[in-house]
Every structure is written in structure tokens, then in C-alpha cells.
């Protein structure tokens, strides 16, 4: 297992290099120049040139990239072009928030989703099942920004239960986590249901019955643990999607997260910031995947470690 983890971590290096190269190339393609944006309106060509030089943007592209990679390998992510702050500092402000948000929504995703899925599966084709599945599907099909604003107006403006925006306390987390977790919960519910229905057909479930076990023991003890395996995968992917997909929710709830940082950086052509943000997001994603695989292996011992 240890070897497996180490190997996986080593394997991420080329992936991350690839990510940084893609970011770099894309940012070269994107029209718009950080210096012009920095200079503000009405700046003269000389001013813009001076800023370009200051930022080192007048060097050949290849050199810029190599320089970047060399620095990153030394743990130096550079400084924001926009506000000259170390990229890593800026990211570290957002990272905990993003992770908290992601965890809170994953919590909602898992708890709501699995509960609904199990109820649905054990009562297949009942009214409860159909209702849950329709609600779940609605959950998937609502655009998150819309859902978020609706939640704000209902729970914050009208009922004054939760604060509108910001981050920090438990109350702050509820609405964003709900907004972000709802779609995932719906997916998890459906996955749990179908996985559960699949497991119910397995031979070992028949063995359990042949032992004379009670039905709920069969479902929850023998079934659920096996049904979890595909659910874990989905939850993992969902978590990955959360890291990138939080931008809208972060905007709606004014959460100072990584997603917004990266989007803002793209908008201001703040290359080091985009690079750093995307790299860190990728690292998290990769580690998430790793965690999922480890969990997966924990639940599914049949998978060999290769």
C-alpha cells in the first residue's frame, strides 16, 4: 500500500508538468495583456512597455516557461502580476476556505445522497422511490447559481435563518454547501440506488439469506458495504468537480475561494496566479483521486494493487 501511494504520487509529476504547460500555452493564446490591464485606462504606450519589462513579459516565451518551471520546482510560485504578492500566499488564504466548502458540500452530498439512495433502493418502485428520484433529478438539472440565489432569498432575506454571504461560521456554510452539494447528492442518490440494486442480485446476498439473516441485516451489513464501492468513486469525482465548479457558488455567496481566485486571475491575465491556482487545484484533485483509490481499495479488497 505504501509503495502504491508513493508510486501514485510520483506519477502525478508528469501530469502536473503537463497541466502547467497547458496553462501556459493557453494563456499565451488568450488575447489581452496583463501590462495593459495593469496600467489602467489612458496609459501611454511607454508606460505599458515599462510595466511589461518590469514583469519580465518581454522575454521570449520559452524562457519565461522554463524560468517558471525551474522556480516552481524550487517551491517558488512567483508573484502575482496584479498585486505583487507571492502567489502561494494568496492561494493559501483561499485554500482552507475552498477545502472547507468542498468538505461541507461533500458531507451534504454523501449524507443526503446515500440516505435517499438507500431508501429508494429498498423500496424500489414505491412512491417514495419515485419521489426521491424525481427530486434527485431536479437537483441535477437546476443551474447552481439560480438555486443559490433562491436559497438566499428564501432563507436569508425572508426567513433570516442564515446569513447571505461570507464564510467562517457554521451558519455561513449551510447555504453554499447545500447549493453545491445538491447536485452531487442527486448523483450519489442515483448511484447508491443502482449500486444497491445491483448488489442485491449478487450471489453472496443469497448466501446471507440462506444463513437465515434478517432482511435489514442483509441489506445494511452485507449489501451496503459492497454497494459503497462505486459510490466512493462517484463521490471522489464529485469532489474533484467541486474544486473547479465552485466558481459560481463562490460568486453567489461571496466566498473567497480558489475558484474565484483563478477566474479573476484569468480575467486579469495574471499568469503566475493562474498557474499556481490551477496547479494547486490539480494537486488537490490528484490527491483526492488517490484518497478515493485508497478508500476504494479498503472497501474492495479484490482490486490488486497494480
Amino acid at each position: 500500500m505504501f509503495l502504491f501511494i508513493v508510486r501514485r504520487i510520483i506519477q502525478t509529476i508528469p501530469v502536473l508538468l503537463g497541466v502547467s504547460l497547458v496553462v501556459f500555452l493557453i494563456m499565451q493564446m488568450v488575447p489581452g495583456d496583463p501590462a495593459t490591464l495593469l496600467a489602467g485606462e489612458g496609459a501611454t504606450k511607454q508606460t505599458i512597455e515599462m510595466i511589461r519589462h518590469q514583469l519580465g513579459l518581454d522575454r521570449p516565451v520559452i524562457i519565461q516557461y522554463f524560468d517558471y518551471v525551474v522556480h516552481v520546482l524550487q517551491g517558488d510560485f512567483g508573484e502575482s502580476l496584479r498585486n505583487n504578492r507571492p502567489v502561494l500566499d494568496e492561494i493559501m488564504i483561499r485554500l482552507p476556505i475552498t477545502i472547507e466548502l468542498a468538505l461541507a458540500s461533500i458531507f451534504i452530498t454523501v449524507v443526503l445522497g446515500m440516505l435517499a439512495g438507500i431508501i429508494s433502493a429498498t423500496k424500489q418502485y414505491s412512491a417514495a422511490d419515485i419521489t426521491i428520484m424525481i427530486v434527485a433529478l431536479l437537483g441535477i438539472s437546476l443551474p447552481s447559481f439560480w438555486f443559490g440565489l433562491m436559497l438566499i432569498y428564501f432563507f436569508s432575506v425572508n426567513l433570516h435563518i442564515f446569513p447571505v454571504a461570507g464564510w467562517g461560521t457554521f451558519k455561513h456554510m449551510v447555504l453554499p454547501a447545500l447549493t453545491l452539494g445538491a447536485g452531487g447528492a442527486a448523483i450519489v442518490a442515483r448511484m447508491t440506488r443502482s449500486s444497491m440494486l445491483e448488489v442485491v442480485r449478487q450471489d453472496y446476498m443469497r448466501t446471507a439469506r440462506a444463513k437465515g439473516l434478517k432482511e435489514h441485516v442483509i441489506i445494511y451489513k452485507h449489501g451496503l458495504k459492497n454497494a459503497l464501492i462505486p459510490v466512493i468513486t462517484v463521490v471522489g469525482l464529485q469532489f474533484g468537480a467541486l474544486l473547479g465548479g465552485t466558481v459560481l457558488t463562490e460568486s453567489v455567496f461571496a466566498i473567497n475561494g480558489l475558484g474565484r481566485l483563478i477566474v479573476d486571475a484569468i480575467r486579469t491575465r495574471d499568469l503566475p496566479m493562474v498557474q499556481g491556482g490551477v496547479l494547486i487545484a490539480s494537486v488537490i484533485f490528484v490527491f483526492m483521486n488517490l484518497a478515493v483509490d485508497i478508500l476504494y481499495r479498503y472497501f474492495n479488497k479484490r482490486v490488486d494493487l497494480n
Binding site: 495593459t36 495593469l38 489602467g40 501611454t44 505583487n84 494568496e90 447571505v164 454571504a165 461571496a254 479573476d264
Partner: protein, 497 residues
């Protein structure tokens, strides 16, 4: 393309000790708090006349008033002398004096500083210390609007101690003489400033201000409604009816210095033909844009200069809505079988809406408009490079002086990034702008600008659409807030219940 930057106005403290913290919700975070590097309003708004003060400040009509300088006079064409306020201390305890002023201007002008604002002070040859409380500005050439620049944000006076000790950290640790002291900045989230207990003037009534970043319009309003925030100064025009009807929110409106316009790339066919430009100007029904798109926020513009800017000429007629005239002009220009062009705009909602309405209006005279919405960075890039055919833009005015408008928008030297997005070039206009710069007599300056505007009106490189009006929403507990014409929040008299 939004509008622009700085103007002035000042926060002279008031008495009353109401206390409380004012929470301001706004679209974006500051980038730096170093006035020599600030190029955007969200940054300037935090420090301008709050943490820092300028030598002179603008009043509600953009007229200069004493602030750190108590009086000033023009000694000759190129020499201005300022008497400084005595007994003022910076927030770090260092004294405010002539040396401090000199240190500031030396810094911004030093090429090593690489300040993007250096260009604005380019006419200054040197700042001379006469005595501890007197300085002289020696200019390279006569420059009438000097005061207007000194009273804008880039004229903020920074503590000389911090300039000397950590010049490159000022962006994060602003120290000035103002009524508020910088407290903290959580990047991307909020900036806090606190009442300056040792302020030389009238101390603020509130304990401090928090500037919170809330990107979503609807969320900002929701925060005002629930009392989570007290002020927001970016308000969708579509919400004003609701705000006015609400008893938890108050709407504040004030005329701005900016103008929105349609800009033709006069280098590109067929817009190099003045008749085509005139034809289009006649085909746009501005009133319905202002009502339909802007919900009557702002007024119909006749010039690219707003009425509040020095040099504005109310006699310019502009182009009336006249389809027949328009068709006739097009015919004269030899355009028979219709005209198609791309209208480029940035991704601001109102601008897009405006583009759609213009598109539908021009359809009336057989002009086929394709709308191209570009993300801000790409938009700036396209305009600077002159890749657009026709664009929607706006020009604010950091100083309230006509030069800032005329020079950037019309002078041949400003083509592209510097502001002249129509790539307009008319030697006559160039000359008028140059002379107005150097003319000390304000009546004569006004006359020169009037002449320039007359020509520009005839040439229509821009079709002026709307004079800005700034909106702010406050919670009903907030009293005494005002916005100056450059859209800065003025907090001198603010109280929060």
C-alpha cells in the same frame, strides 16, 4: 472600457460620536493600496481621502478646496506655490511638511519606481522645498489643469517614512495623514480601516469601515436588505424601482463625470467616411436607450464630456434621431445595398443590452449589426490594437478637467490604449487641445474646448450616448453618505445606527 479613475473630494472629519462600523459591499477587491500604483477605483476608494489625503480636494462640483495645502498661487506660467497645513502628522508619527511632499513626487516621477501614474505628472520638472511648509512645483511647460491632478487619487501624500523604509510594501501598508488608519486586508475578502484617533481635522463619526468583496449583484442587495452590509456602490439599474419601494434600502444617486459612447474606428472602411458616421449617429435613438436600458439612470449626452467636467460646452447640439437624414447620408456615402458591421463591447451587462438595442435600431435603416462581446481583457486588447470596427466604450474622468477627456479621447498621440479608440486624428483639434493645456485663463480654456468639441461633433468619431449617474444603495440605518462625481464614497458625515 468602463469609466475611469480618480477625482477628488475630501473627507474633512466631523464631530459626533455615533460609532459603529460601516460595511461596504462591492464587486471587486483592491489590487494595491499604493496610490502611485493604483489604477482602479476599487483600490482608490479604500484609501482616497480616507487613509491618504491630497494637497487640495474637490468639492461636490469638482472645484478645488484646501486640504493639506491651505493656500496656493501661480507664480508664473510654470511655477506653482503651495502653503502647507501645519501641525499635521502622518499616522506613523512622522511630520507632514514640504520634504514629505517632495519625497512623494520624487518617488512617482523616478523611473525606477516605474509608476503607471508617472505619465500624469510628466509636466512636473521638480518640486522645490521653499521652507518647511512651502513647496513649489516647477513645470516643464505651462499646464493649466495641474490642480485637478493634484486633487485626484494619484496626488495622495504618502508617509515619507514608509517611502524611505519600505517603499515596495506600501501597497499593503498604506500610511497617510487621513481620518482613517489602515487596519487589515484579507486578500479577496475584505479590507478594514479604522478611525484615526489622532486625526488633525474632524474625526469620523464611525469607528471604521469594512470593504467586503461580493461579486454577485443580487447578493449585495440581499446583504443590504438583511443588514449584513450597509452600502453598495455598484447597483444594477434594473433594481432601482424595487430599491426605492423598499423600506430597508435607500437609493443614492449623483451625476458622474463619465460618458458612454459608440466609437467608430475611423481607420477602417466605411467608418473613415464621416457621412457614414453621421448617418449612424442619426439612426440611434438615444432616449429609448436611456430609458429602456438604463432605466433613466443618467442623462442623454451631447458631448463626450459630461456636464460636470471643466470645459463642457452645453451648446453642442449632437445628432437628433432622424432616419431619413441617416438614409440620405448613407446614400451619399455610396452605400446602397446595406451595411454590415461588428459592434464590439465588453461583457458588462448594460453595455451588452445597449448593443442589442442599437442593433435593433440600426436594423431599421438596413444596417446589419453583429454583436461581439469580449471579456474585459480581450476587449481592451482589441481596442488598443484597433481590431474593432465599432465599439461601445466609456470615458471617465479622474480629474474633472477637460484635458483628461480631450487629450485622451481625441489627441492623435493617444490613439489606441491611451484612450483614443476611434483612432481619430485631426491636426486642428490636436492644436486646440495643446493650447488649452497651456492656457492659464479658465475662460479662454473653456472657449478652446468649445471649439474643439464643435469640430468633434461634426466629425463624430464618437457618438455620445449617456452621461453617467452613480448609484449607491444604503441600508436605512446609514445616514450622511455621499458619492463624489468620480464615484468615490465620501464618509465624512456617515453615521450607522
Amino acid at each position: 472600457g468602463c469609466t475611469s479613475d480618480q477625482t477628488s473630494s475630501s473627507a474633512t472629519g466631523t464631530k459626533a460620536k455615533a460609532g459603529g462600523t460601516l460595511v461596504v459591499a462591492r464587486l471587486s477587491d483592491a489590487t494595491t493600496l499604493d496610490p502611485h500604483f493604483i489604477t482602479d477605483i476599487p483600490s482608490a476608494n479604500v484609501v482616497y481621502e480616507k487613509v491618504y489625503e491630497t494637497l487640495v480636494e474637490p468639492d461636490k462640483n469638482m472645484e478645488p478646496k484646501p486640504l493639506l495645502a491651505t493656500e496656493w498661487k501661480q507664480i508664473d506660467n510654470v511655477t506653482w506655490e503651495f502653503k502647507l497645513r501645519k501641525g499635521v502628522k502622518f499616522q506613523d508619527g512622522s511630520p507632514f511638511n514640504a520634504d514629505a511632499v517632495k519625497t512623494n513626487f520624487d518617488r512617482v516621477l523616478d523611473p525606477k519606481t516605474a509608476s503607471p501614474q508617472a505619465g500624469k505628472f510628466e509636466m512636473i520638472k521638480e518640486v522645490k522645498v521653499v521652507d518647511d511648509s512651502t513647496v513649489q512645483f516647477i513645470l516643464k511647460y505651462p499646464y493649466a489643469p495641474l490642480l485637478s491632478i493634484l486633487m485626484s487619487n494619484e496626488g495622495d501624500i504618502i508617509s515619507p517614512k514608509s517611502i524611505k523604509e519600505n517603499s515596495d510594501k506600501i501597497g499593503r501598508n498604506p500610511v497617510g495623514t487621513g481620518p482613517y488608519v489602515f487596519k487589515s486586508w484579507k486578500s479577496g475578502e475584505e479590507i478594514k480601516i479604522e478611525k484615526n484617533k489622532d486625526y488633525w481635522g474632524n474625526k469620523p463619526k464611525i469607528d471604521g469601515v469594512v470593504f467586503k468583496v461580493v461579486p454577485e449583484d443580487a447578493t449585495r442587495l440581499a446583504m443590504i436588505e438583511t443588514g449584513e452590509a450597509h452600502v453598495t456602490d455598484q447597483v444594477p439599474v434594473t433594481e432601482i424601482d424595487r430599491i426605492e419601494a423598499s423600506d430597508t434600502m435607500d437609493l443614492y444617486r449623483t451625476d458622474g463625470l463619465a460618458v458612454e459612447y459608440l466609437s467608430f474606428n475611423t481607420k477602417k472602411k466605411p467608418f473613415n467616411d464621416v457621412r457614414v458616421r453621421q448617418a449612424i449617429a442619426h439612426a440611434i435613438e438615444v432616449d429609448s436607450i436611456i430609458k429602456g436600458v438604463y432605466n433613466d439612470v443618467g442623462t442623454k449626452a451631447n458631448s463626450t464630456m459630461s456636464p460636470k467636467v471643466f470645459g463642457y460646452d452645453p451648446n453642442i447640439k449632437g445628432y437628433n434621431y432622424d432616419i431619413n437624414e441617416s438614409k440620405k447620408l448613407l446614400k451619399e456615402a455610396g452605400i446602397k445595398d446595406g451595411l454590415s458591421f461588428t459592434l464590439t463591447t465588453s461583457d458588462r451587462k448594460e453595455r451588452i443590452n445597449m448593443a442589442e438595442v442599437i442593433q435593433s435600431q440600426l436594423k431599421g435603416i438596413g444596417i446589419n449589426v453583429k454583436i461581439q462581446v469580449l471579456e474585459y481583457g480581450a476587449y481592451i486588447d482589441a481596442i488598443a490594437k484597433g481590431q474593432h470596427q465599432v465599439s461601445i466604450g466609456g470615458w471617465g474622468n479622474a480629474t474633472g478637467d477637460g484635458d483628461y477627456n480631450q487629450f485622451n479621447l481625441f489627441d492623435s498621440k493617444s490613439q489606441g490604449a491611451a484612450g483614443n479608440s476611434s483612432f481619430y486624428s485631426n491636426p486642428e483639434v490636436d492644436k486646440l487641445i495643446e493650447s488649452a493645456r497651456q492656457e492659464a485663463d479658465s475662460e479662454k480654456r473653456k472657449e478652446l474646448y468649445a471649439q474643439a468639441q464643435e469640430i468633434e461633433n461634426k466629425d463624430v468619431p464618437y457618438v455620445p450616448i449617456r452621461n453617467y449617474e452613480h448609484l449607491a444603495v444604503t441600508g436605512s440605518s446609514v445616514k450622511g453618505l455621499w458619492l463624489n462625481p468620480a464615484s468615490y464614497l465620501m464618509l465624512d458625515d456617515v453615521t450607522v445606527k
